[in-house]
């Protein structure tokens, strides 16, 4: 699936043709460059590797990787599986023109890390009463039976690390494409914090 690498900028709102408010996330999308072509003969599958954002001080092995494509070393590299690999050339520039308005896209990013979280935040438990002598404000309570089953059921929600996972949201609508500034306006929220890298794929 072809796509581009982007960076989350912020959320805002725009008005549609009828004057309705549409919540949008602004994403700096591209320009991306084809760094490497992977072929069925050599690597076993067809894909292109895209690079996004210049890297200031690449080390020598890293800089060597960019020799074939003759592109300034990039900071973020990602592979996209593409069947018709003949359409691409090393060094080719891909811009936000790839997307059209009202197109559905799939956005992948890393969700915000929340550290070691309790069950109320992590698993959506409702917690206990706050007052009247209650001492169980946000405790998980009982986690299962006794002799039968003699163990804790798989998938039981318990405290632990939460967030910072690779998250994909499907069928998000592209509201506006700003080719001049490489901006993509996607309806609704996308995973991750501001300045986080995103993969925006065509569906």
């Amino acid at each position: 699936m072809l796509g581009l690498i982007g960076k989350k900028l912020n959320m805002t709102q725009i008005f549609d043709d009828n004057g309705n408010v549409v919540p949008v996330t602004v994403v700096v999308c591209g320009p991306c460059y084809v760094i490497q072509k992977k072929t069925k003969e050599k690597e076993g599958y067809n894909a292109i590797q895209l690079g996004f954002e210049d890297k200031k001080k690449p080390n020598r092995p890293y800089a060597g990787h960019f020799k074939n494509s003759k592109v300034v070393p990039k900071r973020k590299l990602t592979e996209f599986r593409v069947e018709d690999i003949a359409n691409f050339e090393c060094g080719q520039k891909l811009t936000v023109e790839l997307f059209k308005e009202e197109e559905k896209v799939r956005v992948t990013g890393f969700s915000k890390g929340r550290g070691f979280s309790g069950v109320v935040k992590k698993c959506g438990y409702s917690g206990g009463p706050e007052s009247h002598g209650s001492m169980s404000h946000a405790v998980p309570g009982s986690i299962g039976g006794t002799t039968d089953p003699g163990r804790v059921w798989k998938g039981k929600g318990l405290p632990g690390r939460y967030g910072g996972d690779k998250t994909c949201i499907k069928n998000l609508t592209v509201v506006k494409v700003d080719i001049e500034n490489n901006r993509l306006f996607i309806k609704g929220a996308v995973p991750g914090a501001r300045n986080g890298y995103l993969l925006i794929k065509k569906t």
Binding site: N10, T12, Q13, I14, F15, N18, G19, V21
Partner: protein
């Protein structure tokens, strides 16, 4: 993101007339709503203001997005003399107490021309 252009100078307590575009079939006409501004909130493109009027003893409030393309123009009718930014206390008042005293001093009344649409604003940014 750059600055939002300061378009409208009216304040809470002012009486304004808001002209909104309404589409009926193929025709577009203007509808006006006149009342007291009781609240201005939000920043940038998401700024809104609330206009309150009392019609036949029933209070009616409308919230307008300031930068909505559906707002054709906003006319400042009167300036109000108030001491707070949110005039929600007006909802509980009746008769003469529900009125805001007029402010005679200060800048003359302004007539505000069509506001910039959000697209234009974003383009400017």
């Amino acid at each position: 993101m750059g600055k939002t252009k300061k378009i409208v100078d009216f304040m809470p307590g002012d009486t304004v007339r808001v002209y909104t575009k309404i589409v009926e079939g193929n025709k577009t006409r203007l509808q006006s709503f006149q009342g007291t501004v009781i609240c201005k909130r939000g920043e940038g493109v998401s700024k809104t203001f609330t206009v309150r009027k009392v019609t036949g003893g029933i209070g009616v409030e409308r919230i307008f997005p300031l930068h909505s393309p559906n707002i054709a123009k906003i006319q400042q009718m009167k300036k109000g003399k108030v001491r707070r930014a949110k005039l929600f206390y007006l909802r509980k008042k009746k008769g003469k107490k529900a009125k805001v005293a007029e402010k005679k001093k200060g800048k003359p009344l302004q007539k505000i021309q069509p506001v910039k649409s959000a697209e234009e604003q974003l383009a400017a940014k």
